[in-house]
C-alpha cells in the first residue's frame, strides 16, 4: 500500500491507529511520513476537544432579548390555551344542549304514544 492510498483514510487516525483498516494500519506502522501526518491529525483533534471548554461571552444584550422573546412566546401560548379552554366550554355546552333537546324529544314521543294507546283502548 502506498502513502497516497492511505492519505484518504488518515483523518480517522485522529482517534488512534486502531480506527484504520488493517492494511492502512500496517502501512502507517512502517511509514514515518504517514505517522507524522497521523500525529498532526491527533494534535488537531486534541485542540478541537480543548475548544469544548472555551465558552464565548455573548454581548450583554443577548440574554434580555432571549427572555423577552420567550416571554412573548409564553403569552401567545397562554392565549392559545385560553381559547382552547373556551372552545372546550362552548363545545361542551353545545353537546349538553343537544343531549337535553334529544331527551326532551324522546319524552314527548313516548307521551304521545301513550295518549294514543289510551284513546284507542
Amino acid at each position: 500500500m502506498r502513502c497516497e492510498q492511505v492519505a484518504d483514510r488518515l483523518p480517522a487516525a485522529a482517534e488512534g491507529l486502531e480506527a484504520l483498516d488493517p492494511a492502512a494500519r500496517r502501512h502507517v506502522e512502517r511509514c514515518l511520513r504517514c505517522q507524522a501526518d497521523a500525529v498532526q491529525y491527533r494534535k488537531v483533534l486534541r485542540a478541537m476537544r480543548a475548544l469544548r471548554t472555551e465558552v464565548l461571552v455573548p454581548a450583554p444584550g443577548l440574554l434580555p432579548e432571549l427572555l423577552a422573546s420567550l416571554g412573548e412566546a409564553g403569552e401567545q401560548q397562554a392565549v392559545r390555551a385560553m381559547f382552547r379552554g373556551r372552545r372546550g366550554a362552548y363545545l361542551g355546552g353545545l353537546a349538553a344542549a343537544t343531549a337535553a333537546g334529544a331527551a326532551g324529544a324522546v319524552v314527548l314521543t313516548i307521551r304521545n304514544r301513550r295518549s294514543k294507546v289510551s284513546l284507542a283502548g
Partner: protein, 192 residues
C-alpha cells in the same frame, strides 16, 4: 455555573409549566448555546438569531424532552438544526459559497508551522481555520470533534445521511490539518 442536577430539576419544573424555571435554564445555558451557534455560523448576528430560535424551539418542544440525554446536549442538537436551517436559507438566496465543496477565501498568514502547532497557538489558529471551512464541513467537524455528538445525531440534525456525515468529517479534518500545517512555499519539505 448551574450543575447537571440543578439543570435537571429546572427542566422538570419548566415542563410542569414554570416559566421562571425555563428562564433560569436560559440564563444557565445561553453562553454555551451562543458559542456553538457562533462556531457553526461564524458570525455574531447569525449566532444571536440561531440562539434565539433555539430557545423558542426548545420552549415549544420541552414536553417532548425525555431526559435521557443531557439538556445541554438536547440544546446542541436544536442549535445545530437551527443553524443548518439558517445557512441553508442563505445558500438558496445567495447561490454562493455555502455549498460543501465551494472554495473559500484563503486568509492564511504564514507563520512558522512548528510554532503554530503548539498549545494555545494551535487553538488560536484552529479557530481561524474553522471559520475558513465551508459551513457544511464546519458543522460536522464542530459537532463531532468539539461537542462529541454521535454521527447519527449529526446526520439527523443536518438532514444528511450518516455516510455523508462521516465523509464530511474526514474532509473537514483533512482541510484543517492542511490549513494548520501547510507549508509557506510549495516544493519545500513537509513539516513534521
Amino acid at each position: 455555573m448551574t450543575d447537571r442536577a440543578d439543570l435537571a430539576a429546572l427542566v422538570v419544573a419548566a415542563q410542569s409549566g414554570d416559566q421562571r424555571a425555563f428562564e433560569s435554564l436560559v440564563r444557565a445555558t445561553h453562553a454555551e448555546t451562543y458559542t456553538l451557534a457562533y462556531r457553526l455560523t461564524g458570525d455574531d448576528e447569525d449566532a444571536r438569531d440561531v440562539t434565539q430560535d433555539t430557545y423558542l424551539r426548545a420552549y415549544r418542544a420541552l414536553d417532548r424532552f425525555r431526559g435521557d440525554a443531557r439538556f445541554q446536549t438536547w440544546l446542541y442538537r436544536i442549535t445545530a438544526n437551527s443553524a443548518s436551517t439558517l445557512l441553508g436559507q442563505r445558500a438558496r438566496h445567495r447561490h454562493d459559497e455555502l455549498t460543501e465543496e465551494a472554495p473559500v477565501a484563503d486568509e492564511r498568514i504564514h507563520i512558522d508551522p512548528v510554532a503554530r502547532a503548539e498549545g494555545d497557538s494551535l487553538r488560536h489558529h484552529l479557530t481561524a481555520a474553522l471559520r475558513r471551512l465551508p459551513p457544511g464541513l464546519r458543522a460536522v467537524v464542530v459537532l463531532r470533534d468539539v461537542y462529541d455528538l454521535p454521527h447519527d445525531a449529526i446526520a439527523t440534525e443536518l438532514d444528511i445521511s450518516v455516510t455523508a456525515a462521516k465523509v464530511r468529517l474526514h474532509r473537514a479534518r483533512r482541510r484543517l490539518r492542511e490549513d494548520l500545517y501547510a507549508q509557506p512555499h510549495e516544493g519545500e519539505a513537509r513539516a513534521v
